[in-house]
Symmetry: D2
Subunit: 471 residues, 4 copies
């Protein structure tokens, strides 16, 4: 099967030119000024952008957390992602306490086999327990399975996911040895636990107290702690979902010193401020995710940080819970019982384009870096993923920069019963999406076969993922 995409404006992390792309089976075989070839399928991209498919390294499909399971499984979530121009996710497999890492990872492979994603999928592993279930030896072997990143939670004291500094540090030591990257959810669990209990004791249960009991300093503190520990251990660090100045500051300081620290923010931290969670009644529950919505100045700080590369990746932390039946499962007067997590895998590209590029904050190359190339490079997917180059997987987005669209639950493809950015108007939408040459979304219609997406074994830190090896 071959495909010819002709006349598009091809945008990569550095380039911007007009050309034709010829796809042979799964790979980009040829790029030309004007290709004189025939193909099984021809797509006219004149007047459109052709972008590398998005890489979203922060999703939680089909994951039990907070007493319930995220609303999208790997099929549903990847369909939504594909409509948003994302062609690869790196999803969080979890070792729950008492399990071995192999068991945890196996559970996620089973989910994948059962639920048949339509875009490619890699796994990070959430490490929760090095005493009963997981061993340092087994941890060290995970890169052999194509899992080259470990995630740890400094937050959520009292839950399965929370780890102490000892567990965090020992994992970092392993990562330093075996070429993995450590990812942290950085919030001070102890302090938040005290504040949450105090708020509830005082009868403060409205959704906004989710924000008020997680002050920015708790995130800034834990971010710095992770950075210092990683520097001692000598491992590369990735701080997920940075939401505020307090956390940007230590990342900036570390990068200035040349330390291997990278920060990620997510679409919601660029769009949602405290006023959203501070709405009357239970409406604010839609915005209960972690870290929580912050004051507006932090939103602007996140935009500035992705412009200046203090933060280097924009992901989504897609972890949808339905407003009816999930967000309200603990009643409406105890914010601590609202499952934490936002929907949003589908809106990332549209929002970066509208409020990043069109608003003049950065150019298209920077958009591609944030959306695709940098996460691909950081997590062992490049050059197979993350760019438009011959030999790379033909993961491509045909993006219409002029088409107007209103973001809404009415039009999105997640199963989630609300949209975080409801009513936001944008100009510019992904129109057609290919994964390894397969047409997934065609002119706004889903045409993918379930299971079109495959598991990707990722390379170690600093290594390339050979594009010539079939996935």
């Amino acid at each position: 099967m071959s495909t010819l995409i002709s006349g598009g404006r091809i945008i990569t992390a550095a380039d911007d030119y007009v050309g034709d792309i010829f796809i042979d089976d799964e790979h980009i075989a040829l790029i030309g000024e004007s290709l004189d070839v025939s193909a099984d399928r021809e797509i006219d991209a004149g007047g459109k952008y052709v972008l590398p498919g998005g890489v979203d390294v922060h999703t939680h499909m089909d994951t039990f957390f907070g007493g319930t399971t995220t609303a999208d499984n790997h099929y549903e979530g990847t369909v939504s992602g594909a409509f948003g121009g994302t062609t690869t996710i790196v999803d969080f497999a979890a070792q729950y306490p008492g399990e071995s890492f192999v068991e945890g990872l196996g559970n996620w492979h089973t989910k994948l086999e059962t639920n048949k994603p339509v875009i490619d999928v890699g796994f990070h592993l959430i490490v929760t327990d090095l005493k009963n279930g997981g061993s340092l030896e087994d941890l060290a072997k995970l890169p052999d399975e194509g899992v080259t990143s470990y995630k740890l939670f400094m937050a959520y004291k009292g839950t399965d996911f929370h780890v102490d500094d000892e567990t965090l540090f020992k994992t970092m030591q392993v990562a330093a040895e075996n070429g993995s990257r450590v990812m942290v959810h950085a919030e001070n669990g102890d302090v938040i636990d005290v504040l949450v209990k105090e708020a509830l004791a005082q009868g403060n249960g409205a959704p906004k107290y989710h924000s008020l009991t997680r002050p920015p300093e708790t995130e800034g503190e834990a971010t710095n702690r992770a950075i210092q520990l990683a520097h001692i251990a000598g491992c590369p660090l990735y701080v997920v979902h940075v939401s505020c100045e307090d956390a940007i500051e230590p990342i900036e300081l570390a990068r200035e010193k040349g330390w291997d620290v990278v920060g990620e923010t997510c679409t919601q931290y660029l769009m949602v401020d405290f006023s959203k969670i501070d709405q009357p009644g239970f409406e604010g529950a839609k915005y209960v995710y972690t870290p929580p919505p912050r004051d507006a100045r932090h939103v602007e700080a996140c935009w500035n940080a992705i412009r200046t590369d203090k933060l280097s990746v924009v992901s989504t932390d897609h972890a949808p819970f339905n407003f009816k039946g999930q967000k309200d499962m603990g009643g409406t007067d105890d914010f601590s019982k609202i499952p934490n997590g936002p929907p949003g895998i589908e809106e990332r590209l549209k929002i970066l384009h509208e409020f990043g590029v069109r608003a003049g904050r950065f150019d298209l190359n920077r958009l591609v870096q944030l959306f695709s190339t940098t996460p691909a490079k950081l997590f062992g997917l490049y050059p197979r993923k993350g760019t438009i180059a011959v030999g790379s997987d033909a993961d491509l987005v045909i993006f219409d920069p002029e088409k107007k669209h209103t973001i809404s639950v009415a039009t999105h493809h997640s199963t989630c019963d609300y949209n975080l950015f409801e009513g936001t108007e944008v100009t510019g939408v992904p129109e057609t999406v290919l994964v390894r040459g397969q047409l997934i979304v065609d002119n706004g219609e889903l045409v993918a076969q379930p299971g079109a997406g495959k598991f990707v074994k990722r390379a170690r830190v600093g290594e390339q993922l050979a594009p010539s090896v079939a996935v």
Copy 2:
């Protein structure tokens, strides 16, 4: 009893002038250009400096720690202090786990009564346990006893002193309410514990591994953590014994933002670098204190920080253990068994004068700030202590700026069997020392009555300690 000190160059935190001081009983009654009064005792200070007596807010007299008790009790330690120009200490009383705060405090009052200090003494309280022994309610009442500062240890995991962030944060909340200042020993206990065990497992037991298993990042991390937690709680913070750039940086950032954070360093961090602990054999054990000796660049960073008020106080952390019989009590091949702590209460003024003032790093006013006035103000002793003003306690040092002296165990007055700065030559020594008008050291001779020093009840943060009230 009255005393006249005539013709000295009087130095305070801001002033520098020549005058006479008349002391009526315990107080400074009169300062004049040339006083035409007679007194029971007359001291000619011509050609000398007259300084406010030193305030050392970081000492551990007669304290059980690391399996043994510090070598100086409150008599011995205060004699040594007096010879160094220190006229008030604020010593660390401790609540050990299971004890109430009143018990802990009572134990230290007993030590004081038994051991009869020769200079004045206040107490901080070390908080170790809010679950079994101490209650938040009792903690809140301590300022009524004249104890307006709480100390907590983020380090020393596995010992009685170590607390988690929950205990730290709850104490901070109490302090924010009741006008106390929280003091932290800031090091990451978890990481150090891992590193120490690894070092020992690898057979690395020499004293230098005490430094190598406590990298500067562990201090920088914990310092920032304490700062962020204090800012959430709204309490004033004091970071004890700052030893490195990594810890100075977050203090500087917080102060720049206007947060109520103060940092202290100690004499040893201005004088001792890693080469001292990295000596052949067991000699390095003399320098086993915490935080440990650092690379030379950190030493210079501490000097720069006290010049620029990033760090605001110089104390001693006087916690002497004899080289023979204490430092070696766990043998000589396991650094983790060496009791942690340095001698040094006597050398502070001499060293600040020699390497601060005479070396051109700062002036005499800054010396007085670091040595006396600032700690007095921070810890509720001012204006009774910390300055030379009428109404203040007549705690005074006649300092000979021309006299040469070699620091040595042979001449010091601590019972400790070694001196940390052995052989250091200085020009300028305290010659005569008065505490509340009582002659303690007279021309280099001890003349104090045991018990000349009394307990001082300290004022709350932001309040003055009324000088007119007899102690």
Copy 3:
């Protein structure tokens, strides 16, 4: 003649205590808890503050500039100063082009003899010309005349005062040699000249264009230029009337590096923002001074800078021009013809107390530093001026911290026909003021003899002004 001031709360740059002060002739002879002496004059200061007299190192009395002469001569201006608690000014004597330095200085001595100030007066010398009038050799001798600071204008291109970098740098080299301090008015004259001409050419003549043609970058630029040049020359630098973040930033950076750079702001930069000059009609002309009123964020930046010692002195730049007859001398439609300068010598202490101390920005000690001690130390007046200590000149202010007052042209003592802070309400006013033991203002009434104030020969940088030498 002797004076006893009893029971006041004595505030210095570091201290805060209650006591009595006995003045013998011109000096403070005695400070006591409760002095049992009789004096020719007795002042009950119970419930009042006793402060060191203010030192205002930035005034322009009787100075021809912008085509007219400032409204207050040395009598009128010092009377106004005395009512504001200022007991010493260091006024700007000027060498006009073609004059020798001795001539320029002589002219100001003549003004002093003619106009008989009521408070003490020192002189800086404005250097304008090193080619025709002044020589480097003569410049080097000025400290022998008690003139130990040179002022240069980087602004005002096209006027007598403007100098190029060559003149500035050569003066700095002299200062580095002879122990003088260089003061700069830092604005980029070239750029402002272009902008002013463009504004006028476009018909933009309203007062607000005075601000708009002097953007903050012109001040920031010149400030940094002066700093770098001073660092090459090795001379101490003092940047006058800093008004904005753009200028604070390079001062902060230099001080952090340990360079001898000090910044001053003035009362107006703490109180007046752009909205004042941007009033309808000609009202804004009252606020035509240089640097001009800035946006509100710069006002807050100045407050923060004096809190953190990025800026170290608050002066007034007192250079009053009457609204009628002077500010309007060039008509009302050409801002470039409005003489530049503000009234304000009288309001400094009241404003620092109200908006600094009472507003919680800093404490009384910091007020005294900014108002008196630091300028005295920087400009060779200490310890004769700038503190309350035995031997010092009895320059004292009895300040009633509870008295309410409305600042107004109706009550001020300058001859200027408007007040910059008209209608501002404060609590706390200077009540009684002494200069070298002479009563100048007594309970709000002027009682001074003209000529009560004398010229002060100042010491070189780093030297003390011997308090025992009669002035």
Copy 4:
């Protein structure tokens, strides 16, 4: 004429993959995994890197300066450049005082026609005079001639090139309007002039005084001045040949604020420190260029700055003067008579590869950014130049990363009689170089026709240079 380059590792500013490149006439027509086409010329690049041709935006060919003319004309200099992998230069045309801009530009076109470069050439215009020769109106029209950048000298007081702030600022205002970029040689001319005269007066004429009379602060100052002026004017700024921390600091601050300021360093600032100019005799004269060689810490600061994008371009400032006959034309005892300028157009790529990539300071993508893509984008050459993409000019370098080479006058291709980096050993050299599909250097042999290089009209700031238009 067509060319096929097969099997090379293609490196761009973002990508790194193996592929074939087919060149049709002057353009890259096709990039493929494995192209099955025939071509007139075939080059096997297996095991080699294929890089975009270098863009050197800082050269002075055939330029009269300092009393003589640079040693290489546009043929000689571009031959040397080609051997170094540079395929485009933007050379400095100059308006000398009294000339119109059209005249100045015309003179450089004539040089080009006469001397027949072998690589492509654009022109910046050096502005020296807005009063007698040049008018603002004519200046504004230069972009129509494909000249979209103005260069001004803040240094060299007393020469034709020096401009005052008025000229600089007015040029910036024009550039802000017409889409040009302003380039500054940032050193304080006044101060340097004073220091040079003082040095000579004191008999200090050795080459090292060239460094000692241009202290880093003179560069830092002028850099900041240019930045502030550009920000007022609203024009994009490019600071050429940044050599020290003092100049990096203000660039960093401006970029952090989001200002359009870009800094360039040159190869020599990454390799040569003060010790080179501080050699016995006249040897140091080889290193007389401006800014001068600095202390080693500045060298390291420049490396760090290009890693962190504080500095964004590495050029050469190629302005060779022969050691015999030019450097010595004023004798050997007056450094001020040594013509200022270094040879070096040929060594840029080799040095960035050896000491940047191979030393682990940055990766190959960053090398390409610094060497080619970023200057091309900044100066209106992209995407015709600066990348490897279809449609772009076939300006390509086949680079052998394993070949060892010793840099030397014996092997370089400039006419200059010495090499700045004599004896430096590197691994990795450009082997074959093409300009618009023409073979210029083939396996280390010059095969170009004189005149193979053409003048390039550049696009305005923010615009693309349409790759489809034939040059």
